[in-house]
């Protein structure tokens, strides 16, 4: 009879494609943890104890403190964070603040490290997930270095939408303040930039965004030819 946490593991991209036997082993060393909105799951500088896999709810990864705060990225259900720190056994470079109530599976870092040296499928899958993440970060760096605030915001909104055509509505993955730092701008600037995008069919009401046409918005995001 399978371990009761195996079904949860199957929802996590990092583990989903692994064989049943491996999942069993991971399920055995994992634990389920609830967290609540605005709470910190861990902080920059701490020793890596766990890899966090989100079942429900999500977090925002933040580097630095106070006015020097840089939001790296938002993470939600199915995603996992801290694999790099866990594999290397080096202190976290970022803190994670919950953007909602939720639950996460925690995999002990040390045990995961041992598993990786024994299980090809797991190791290969880690490499693939890290690779995918690498590409996400590269895109973010390219964007910050070459685009202005409006383009970056437009692109970010498009990436948050689940569709690629026509109109959409969705909730921002965190506070406006956090979205602003994710984009590398100040909250005031986000407010003003969002205003500018009204002319391009973007309505914002609280943390809900309504876009009248993703195609039209895409024109701003990438006036030149396309490089994702």
């Amino acid at each position: 009879m399978p371990h009761p946490r195996v079904p949860f593991l199957k929802k996590i991209q990092l583990f989903a494609p692994l064989p049943e036997a491996t999942l069993e082993r991971i399920a055995e060393i994992s634990g389920l943890q609830r967290f609540s909105d605005h709470g910190f799951l861990f902080r920059e500088g701490e020793e890596p104890d766990f890899v966090y896999c989100f079942i429900e709810g999500g977090v925002v990864l933040v580097g630095g403190v106070g006015s020097q705060e840089a939001v790296i990225e938002f993470f939600g259900p199915g995603e996992s964070v801290l694999l790099p720190a866990a594999l290397l056994g080096l202190p976290y470079l970022v803190s994670a603040r919950a953007t909602s109530d939720g639950q996460a599976l925690l995999i002990p870092a040390g045990k995961l490290r041992s598993l990786i040296d024994e299980d090809v499928a797991l190791a290969a899958q880690c490499a693939r997930v890290l690779s995918r993440h690498w590409r996400v970060l590269i895109n973010q760096i390219k964007e910050i270095k070459t685009q202005g605030a409006a383009e970056r915001l437009a692109h970010f909104l498009i990436s948050q939408a689940e569709k690629t055509h026509g109109p959409v509505a969705f909730a921002l993955p965190g506070m406006k303040k956090e979205v602003a730092t994710r984009l590398g701008i100040k909250p005031e600037t986000l407010s003003r930039t969002l205003r500018k995008l009204r002319d391009f069919g973007v309505e914002s009401d609280g943390d809900t965004i309504r876009i009248s046409s993703l195609e039209r918005l895409a024109e701003i995001a990438n006036p030149r030819a396309g490089g994702e």
Copy 2:
């Protein structure tokens, strides 16, 4: 008798810690390739054919084109690039331009992908190297989002020095133009910022940088407390 390319592999961080048997197998599928200054090794959008490991000389990874160009990072001897694209079989997100004449070991992407699914040591090592790289990119993002041009330049110069104390002199890893985009600024701004740092013991003569005291420079790089 060992394969003649094994000694080269041992100089590459990605492969160095692997057992002899694995190195043999990689050596057999690899090939040595010369390249010359300013030439492109590959371009954004191309299908991933190889992982490039630098034996001698280096490249700069660049995303986008023309005035939209974003330099991601410089790579030199012992380092390798494109592992993520190769593992995922997705088109390159960046182009690589040589910053000097040199030689690289080329590992065919397809064969490497198969090896990874068979060899735990190799797979685990890939995951570790990707993890390390992830941390480098996170730091770069944190920096761009929170620091001004002068701080970023100071930090960059410090990272290029091999020592951590006292005076140093070294050559920039590429043209000033490229260094500027790596830092997310324009060449003109780099020129002016370098000027400002003269008051803090930074002399520049062509592509040679002389720093009179790394400690003094570090004060600018991180006026606040320290996060790696």
